[in-house]
């Protein structure tokens, strides 16, 4: 598996798109920091960008990589290698290279700016961690879609739809349901509903770090317990891990059965 991972990883590292992605974050970091002059505000702006953009890029890269390397995959399948190894290796290769672009691209300007001396260092680290998590989650989702769809156009469409659903539509439905059910106690429901969407979950995780937790906990006792203590931090991180593990399990399961 490690060999395939290495191959995928270096293959992607050499590709133009990784550099573009890396340069994009580099520019973004530099512009935000040196025009804003305030690390904690830059972290907030970055949050808005990261929770929308990393899933999108992860989805597109994941699905493109799978379809493009199909011939190579078929070649590998002819060798005496376990199937799950091949797909996991590719998956990890894509996710790692994307995460690396993100971490290094944003890391360089922040280090140059002096993040180590700033109190925003933990907020920044949370941000990078959440970005990496989102990459892993959405690449896994894209691989799932690709494994289930032979048709490239269809697969691409579904993958984009998943992103659109998670990033925008889900919140819309969530908001409407909250407004419709306003006469009922909603705290438990809204906590669970936001756990079911990795993008919402990441947003909350970062908000918790950014001192807005008091604002959130204004709402009720359960919110207070969740956002006011470490419970919120720990459980949202755990659910994020779960969000990586479950799609990866499905990749393994699907790849074992898939007929090429």
């Amino acid at each position: 598996m490690f060999k395939i991972l290495k191959y995928s990883f270096f293959d992607l590292m050499r590709s133009r798109w990784s550099y573009v992605y890396f340069l994009f974050y580099l520019m973004l970091g530099i512009v935000l920091l040196f025009l804003n002059n305030d690390t904690s505000k830059a972290v907030i702006t970055l949050m808005n960008i990261i929770i929308v953009l990393t899933p999108l890029i992860g989805t597109i890269f994941g699905i493109m990589y799978y379809y493009n390397s199909r011939e190579f995959t078929e070649l590998l399948l002819a060798q005496p290698i376990k199937r799950s190894t091949i797909f996991l290796g590719q998956y990890l290769g894509v996710s790692l290279s994307l995460s690396l672009s993100l971490v290094i691209g944003l890391g360089i300007p922040f280090i140059l700016y002096g993040i180590f001396q700033s109190s925003a260092i933990f907020n920044f680290l949370t941000l990078l961690l959440v970005g990496a998590f989102l990459t892993f989650i959405f690449v896994a989702l894209a691989f799932n879609v690709a494994l289930s769809n032979e048709n490239k156009i269809k697969g691409f469409g579904y993958a984009i739809l998943i992103w659109l659903f998670m990033a925008v539509i889900y919140d819309g439905l969530f908001l409407i349901s909250l407004m419709l059910l306003e006469e009922y106690p909603l705290d438990r429901y809204s906590l669970i509903a936001s756990m079911l969407n990795p993008i919402d979950l990441s947003r909350i995780l970062i908000l918790l770090k950014l001192d807005i937790s008091a604002l959130l906990s204004y709402t009720g006792a359960l919110f207070k317990k969740f956002f006011g203590t470490n419970l919120g931090m720990i459980s949202s991180t755990l659910v994020l891990v779960l969000w990586v593990i479950l799609p990866v399990m499905r990749i393994i399961y699907k790849s074992k059965k898939k007929d090429f």
């Binding site: 919140d171 819309g172 908001l175 809204s190 906590l191 919402d200 008091a214």
Partner: protein, 399 residues
């Protein structure tokens, strides 16, 4: 003995002096005399001062009330007390024990005293024309019922409260039925309830005070003609914390204050004819939350910087005006370069309207969908009051 020591109308109290307790000294001191208390620890409580006198502590003599009741009780006009350290005031659920209790007296002066482990710190009732300055008052907070207020004035007038530091109390400063008084340069922090609490007190002013990390910030209720300038309301974070809570206030001036990182910067309810000018609202959850029945309030030349929600409004009716403020979330342009944005700013977002109706929706704060919603509401307001806008939003923050 009395004659010899009151030679200059001064009585000295110390462990090795002729007069060993303050009670004795008060008994023998002449009217308008002076008592000097030397360094030492005096275990006395319920010391009653019934004649005009000044008591001066040298090198911080300590009066230990041993938790038995009041320490000093002032029942006469023209009493001044300075440089004492009073501690261990009694605690009671029926009596308001205080470090210094002032009853029906005029022209009192209390300065440079330290009061620690108090129930009430300085409690004044029906007293007028006094000065309370440069004191440090603290307690050990347990809960609201078993802790008193730092400086508590009831039915007083023309009192100046200045340069005091108050912490770990229930309310730092509490005013009830107090008129024509001033609160200046105080630092009230880490109190269980309010840093400053006003009830039924008219024509008062407070300037240059700092209120930080109090349980619920500062509350001004049922009062008229209050002036608040250059105060700092900071870090009142918590589930029910306000920088400033206004309830049933008329004709107040709120100028040059700084509201920094509070859950709610200003919460106002039933308040009319209030002018907010040159204030800075920085990184609050809500900068201003306006509940019902607030009429003809004016917000002019304020800075609204990076608040999660700028203004929250719970009705479609609007009688308040916003003009020439700086809003960090303003996205308009200034083509004629006159310093004012060409497009009016709508401080009430659709999202803040929703949060008002269904508080749980706050969980969607800063999500992409909410941004899209806010944008569409900005283009054509349906839910938010359509006349609530700032026609001259500033392009640059005010200094």
């Amino acid at each position: 003995m009395a004659i010899s020591s009151s030679f200059a109308q001064t009585v000295e109290v110390c462990a090795s002096c002729n007069v060993k307790t303050l009670k004795e000294a008060i008994a023998i001191a002449p009217k308008y005399g002076k008592i000097v208390v030397k360094k030492g620890i005096y275990k006395e409580h319920d010391i009653e001062i019934d004649k005009p006198i000044s008591i001066i502590g040298e090198n911080n003599p300590v009066f230990d009330g041993e938790k038995k009741g009041y320490v000093l009780i002032i029942k006469s006009d023209s009493v001044s007390i300075s440089g004492l350290h009073l501690k261990n005031v009694g605690q009671s659920y029926t009596k308001d024990f205080a470090g210094i209790y002032i009853s029906k007296s005029e022209h009192f002066k209390i300065d440079n005293c330290t009061l620690s482990d108090v129930f009430f710190g300085i409690l004044a009732e029906k007293s007028h024309h006094g000065i309370i300055s440069n004191n440090t008052i603290s307690s050990v907070v347990k809960n609201e019922a078993s802790t008193g207020n730092g400086i508590h004035l009831w039915h007083c007038s023309n009192v100046t409260v200045a340069e005091n530091e108050l912490f770990n109390l229930r309310d730092g400063i509490y005013f009830e039925f107090v008129t024509d008084s001033k609160i200046l340069n105080n630092f009230s922090h880490n109190n269980l309830r309010y840093g400053l609490h006003f009830m039924f007190s008219n024509n008062d002013e407070y300037h240059n005070n700092t209120f930080t990390k109090n349980g619920a910030g500062v509350a001004v209720m049922f009062s008229k003609y209050i002036t608040m300038t250059q105060n700092i309301f900071k870090e009142n974070w918590g589930t029910a914390s306000y920088g400033l809570l206004l309830k049933e206030i008329y004709d107040a001036e709120i100028e040059n204050n700084e509201f920094d990182q509070n859950t709610i910067g200003v919460y106002t309810e039933g308040s009319t004819r209030i002018n907010y000018k040159n204030n800075t609202f920085n990184r609050n959850g809500w900068a201003v939350k306006i509940a019902g029945a607030c009429y003809t309030n004016k917000f002019e030349k304020n800075n609204f910087l990076y608040n999660a929600l700028d203004i929250s409004y719970n009705s479609k009716l609007n009688d308040n005006t916003f003009d020439e403020n700086y809003w960090s979330s303003y996205t308009g342009y200034d083509l004629d370069k006159n310093g004012y944005g060409d497009v009016p700013y709508r401080p009430v977002k659709l999202f803040s309207y929703m949060v008002n109706k269904t508080p749980e929706t706050i969980i969607l704060l800063r999500s992409l969908f909410v941004d899209i919603l806010n944008f569409s509401e900005k283009v054509s307001p349906v839910f938010t009051p359509d006349d609530l806008l700032d026609n001259n939003p500033l392009m640059k923050p005010l200094k």
